[in-house]
């Protein structure tokens, strides 16, 4: 097996003095692997993936992303962020910029692309998420599903090696979830490393190489989707699955 792209070694994190939000996390992610992280709310799923691009800092243990160990060094953080794209539950598009400007901002400012190159790349990514015709609208003029697809395209414009998805469909109307999941599935089939916090079990089943189940800051179970859904190993996973699949 080639060198893993992400390695968590005994990672611990606390909020304040007493809230132990990540407990002894050990996790390795192979290049091109697609991982779905699930678990009850407050279990530390989001915190876990937000550590990968240092939106949250871990206090103990080692976290290595594509050969760079994350610490206080700003250069390393910057280097890692260039390689990691992220999609948020609330989209977090910049409302004062058009869709196209949202996509070209970072490539021009950070990636040092010319305006023209950035626009070309942005239009390619917008085609990819099938929303090119909205390029000149403002984000708030789009539906939730469209906004989230723009957010995916924005992250892709920096040609990341890793994509993080933090509950990308949780803020969407049921009818719009599918258009976002379709885009994510396509992306998954193109070989990018993906970590996705989601409750969309259908997506997990169809796309994930591995499901990571967390509870109270700990990884309870790692398994293939098939095994996880048909033969969950722990009592806790069974209980969780029965609650979300039971209805």
């Amino acid at each position: 097996m080639s060198e893993p792209i992400i390695t968590f070694e005994q990672v611990n994190k606390w909020y304040g003095p007493s809230f132990h939000v990540l407990r002894d996390i050990d996790l390795t992610v192979a290049r091109g692997e697609r991982i779905v992280i699930c678990g009850p709310s407050g279990s530390g799923k989001s915190t876990l993936i937000r550590c990968i691009n240092r939106l949250e800092e871990h206090q103990q243990g080692r976290l290595i992303v594509d050969g760079d160990e994350l610490g206080d060094d700003l250069k390393t953080i910057h280097a890692v962020r260039q390689k990691v794209g992220m999609v948020f539950q609330q989209f977090n598009l910049f409302p004062h910029l058009t869709v196209l400007e949202n996509l070209t901002l970072a490539p021009v400012q950070v990636g040092r692309l010319s305006q023209q190159e950035a626009v070309e790349r942005a239009m390619q990514q917008l085609e990819r998420v099938r929303i090119a015709e909205q390029a000149h609208k403002y984000p708030l003029q789009l539906s939730g599903g469209q906004q989230q697809r723009v957010a995916i395209a924005r992250a892709l414009c920096l040609t990341p090696k890793i994509m993080l998805f933090d509950e990308p469909t949780s803020a969407l109307d049921p009818e719009m979830i599918k258009e976002v999941l379709d885009v994510m599935t396509e992306l998954a089939n193109q070989g990018i490393t993906m970590l996705c916090v989601t409750h969309e079990m259908g997506f997990a089943r169809a796309v994930a190489d591995r499901v990571v189940f967390m509870d109270q800051g700990q990884i309870v179970e790692e398994n293939t989707p098939h095994e996880f859904f048909s033969h969950p190993q722990s009592e806790r996973s069974r209980d969780f699955l029965s609650k979300i699949l039971g209805h």
Binding site: N53, Q82, M86, F94, T98, L105, Q109, Y138, Q141, L158
Partner: protein
Amino acid sequence: MKTKTFQLIPARPAPPPPGGLLHWLRTHLFGNPLSALTTLVLLALLLSTLPGLIDWAVLRAQWRPDAEACRAEGMGACWGVVAEKYRLIILGRYPFDEQWRPVVATTLMLALLVASCLRRCWRPWLAALWLLVLAVFFTLMYGNVAGLSRVETDRWGGLPLTLLLSTLSIAMAFPLALGVALGRRSELPAIRAVCTVYVELVRGVPLVTVLFMASFMFPLFMPQGLTIDVLLRVLAGITLFAAAYMAEVIRGGLQAIPRGQLEAAATLGLGYWQTQRRVVLPQALAMVVPGLMNNFIAIFKDTSLVTIVSLYELTGALGLALNSDADWRAFKLEGYLFITLIYFGFCFAMSRYSLWVEQQVNRGRAR
């Protein structure tokens, strides 16, 4: 059971809004008993005051600069005072024979301000134009070159001084306020402390005190022989004072930017300054346009306080013009109404402009 096919009802235009003056009156002025009562009370107030006012201000008014006629029994407003004293009111103590200089300088300054407000002038050359116009303004006002006699800054006055003080202090206070507002949210405790102390200190003192200090106390601390012009000291005082208030208004806007925006910028690899410049400030400033304009208007009017350190801007010049002349001293009210009109003209223009700016910056929010 037969399934129903879904048939879309074709969109129809909305019914025309009910028109007519009568309908407007009924809905806007007499919509309900309270509204009707308010309308009637206001109408009664208008009817009881307006005729008297018109009678005083127009019908019985004296328009010629004739103090004798103004004092006559049964006379109304004496607008003659304006006709007699307008040069002194608008230009202050500036040497009478040289008054074309402040007139040209002020006209240029006003043109510059109007140009700065127009979108099609927002080009790099505008900055150069500012420097040029300010240089010309000071040269014309101060003189001492090219055959222009020297006029010390304490002789400057009236509208040119009001404009100069407010334009420069707003132009300098705004960037300072930006820095302070960002500084108060800095992650570096030292910067945060300095900015907080500055804001709290300045907000704890009246502007009058700041001006007194700038004018009378500051020179005491200066080394012997070194003097800074009183106009510059006062300008610095107003700038520092205004910046503290503006900083808090801007900080309000910064607070309103959701954390997610900063996180998104961070994940895209934008650095601190790039994030502030491209993501945070455009949104934050757009939100505080009304508050900022409030500050700008307040500064414009606060410049009238420099009278206490013997700089006679518009308000001060009016006092100067009338107090020293026993013939006209009685008609101060008319004089004040005249400068009120000037102040109102500027402030109203500013507030209208702010509405336009709001429209421009909120395009992204419109559906």
